[in-house]
């Protein structure tokens, strides 16, 4: 998942980005509103974290611009203003949630997680696609009740596929959401990781969870929700 972080305090920006990356997100950092708008226009963002008091282009203006550009992904607002009037105004403007400074990083992560799930149509923190169960909070994956050991990148890839279960995801889309750097887009890493995931999720080759659509990309073919048999 690719996040856009727009925060003008350099320490907070750096520390927050580090912790978000540790939590498995790809983070684009901007220190002012204009840079934030540029990045939002250049990269496919899944969620934006925007401080309200920004130089050059205020957070409020940035959110307005994003919405005017037709970007519909979730926007999480960071603000020192905790008056209810401000909260009401911010959400009316098009933001989806707010976190009042100073905040707890765990809480911020939980809010981001919830917003991303909601944006892709998931209501709970536990994503269930047939036999595959992924808990976004504990980052645990179980298949048919059996705990699965995944590397951090495998986990990120599976989470991305499950959040978008049923959708066709191109290789570019996947790389852009999971990788920070542009040059890795050309590599075949994704193919390799998809192969590994297939082997881990379905070692017996029973239900073929990940479909390959030639020239178009991949799709998690297992329907959302638990299978009828339980």
């Amino acid at each position: 998942m690719r996040l856009l972080l727009v925060e003008d305090d350099p320490n907070l920006n750096r520390s927050l980005a580090t912790q978000l990356e540790q939590a498995g997100y790809v983070v684009d950092r901007a220190a002012d509103g204009q840079e934030g708008l540029y990045l939002a226009r250049e990269y496919p963002v899944n969620l934006a974290i925007i401080d309200l008091g920004l130089p050059k282009l205020s957070g409020v203006e940035l959110i307005k611009q994003l919405r005017a550009d037709g970007k519909s992904y979730p926007v999480l607002v960071l603000t020192a203003r905790d008056r209810w009037q401000d909260k009401v105004e911010v959400l009316k403007l098009g933001a989806d949630d707010y976190v009042v400074k100073p905040f707890n990083v765990e809480e911020l992560l939980a809010r981001i997680d919830a917003l991303l799930r909601r944006a892709t149509g998931w209501a709970q923190s536990e994503l269930v696609c047939g036999p595959i169960v992924l808990d976004t909070r504990t980052q645990e994956v179980k298949v048919k009740g059996q705990k699965l050991e995944l590397t951090s990148f495998e986990y990120k890839l599976l989470e991305y596929l499950m959040l978008h279960a049923g959708e066709v995801l191109s290789k570019t889309q996947i790389t852009e959401s999971l990788y920070e750097e542009d040059f890795e887009r050309d590599s075949n890493v994704i193919e390799v990781f998809i192969g590994r995931l297939r082997r881990k999720l379905d070692p017996e080759d029973e239900y073929k969870p990940i479909e390959t659509l030639r020239g178009r990309g991949y799709r998690l073919a297992v329907a959302r929700g638990a299978p009828p048999s339980g």
Binding site: R83, W84, Q85, L91, D97, P102, A114, R118
Partner: protein
Amino acid sequence: MALVRSLRARVVLWVCVALIVLFAATIVGLDIAFRNTADRDRRELIEAQVLGLIALAEPGPGGELRLPTEAIDPRFEVANSGLYGALYDGNGRALWQSLSLLGRDFPADEVAAAGERRHLMLDVPGFPPIEAELMGVTWEDRPAPYTFAIGVSLEPYNDRQATFRNYLIGWFLGVTLTMLLVVSGLLTFVLRPVHRLERQVREVEAGDRVKLTGSYPSELVGLADNLNMLIDTERRRLVRYRNTLDDLAHSLKTPLAAMHTLLSEQRSQPAEDRSDALNRELERMDQRVSYQLRRARASGATGLGTEPVAVAPLVEDLKQTLDKVYRDKHVACSVTVVPGASFRGDPGDLTEILGNLMDNAYKYCAGRVIVKAVSTRERLVITVGDDGKGIGDEFAAQLFQRGKRADESIPGQGIGLAVVRETVELYRGALSVGKSDLGGAELRVELLRAGVL
């Protein structure tokens, strides 16, 4: 008139203008009436004299008309009496000229035709201005008409007119001056309470006086009361800011001291323990600062200069905000606000009160929240209920403990309610906790409406 700053100057100026216009019109009117009367009198006099001469005239021994001087009006006989007369025959030859002409010819050198009455205004050198009448009369068998001439000097009339006019102006000037003196005195009397008010406000400003005192006339009572309210609000606000600063200093310095101590402690302690302790202190600081800032921010406006805030749209905004924030919880929030329910005060304060109450309800409910607002003539009552577990008695008791600061007695979650209680009290309202029909807690806010403050 904006240039004239003083009320007294304004009134005096307007009275002056009004009197001058009024009196000028009166003087002109009276003057015209006086002149008209004088003109008519003079005309009548001339008429009477002409007829008198005609009646006296009789044919003399030569057949010519003559006037018996012994029977004539004595004014014709006195030099410069202002009454002049003459009689001409048909050729313009003077048969008689009054002695008052002192041997000069009658100033009009013309004769009238038979039956003609000629009216003249004469201004001839050597004579005062004269109004004259020539009357042509045909006498028995004489072919040419005789002309009877009468002249009356305008001088005495003009003198009388001038005297009258001077008298009028003098009189009116006197009346005007008297009026101005009376008005000025009246103003001094009327404005005395205003000056007292001004003096008292100045004394309050200088700190020599606590509030405006004494009885004020009904027109000023409202102003004086509002000023007192303003002074009182201002004073309470100052006290509140001072207390907040003191509290804030206390709240910040204690954890700071603790952190200093922690940092200088023996390095023997494991880093993780120390980091935990620091985190706790930071959280304490955060909580206290946030509480103090929130309660200091409540404006507690007096109701002066504030428009009534409609409750319904505000509740609707908050409901939408909270629906968004708690969207995973799918809370059913029913809102009943009577039409026209409004609040006199700062809209931010009401948003803060309602925001905190509704946020708590959304947070602790099982799935349903009810918000109701009723307004009566004297108060606005808002209740927020939910179907949660309710508020514990112990917590409620702590919340309503007077004079106890919430950040010392109440854990983090209760700070919102403590802020609500303090904000409500700023408006001299009340917050109470009860049981909701839904089974959970119901918080009830009563706010007095403006004017009742």
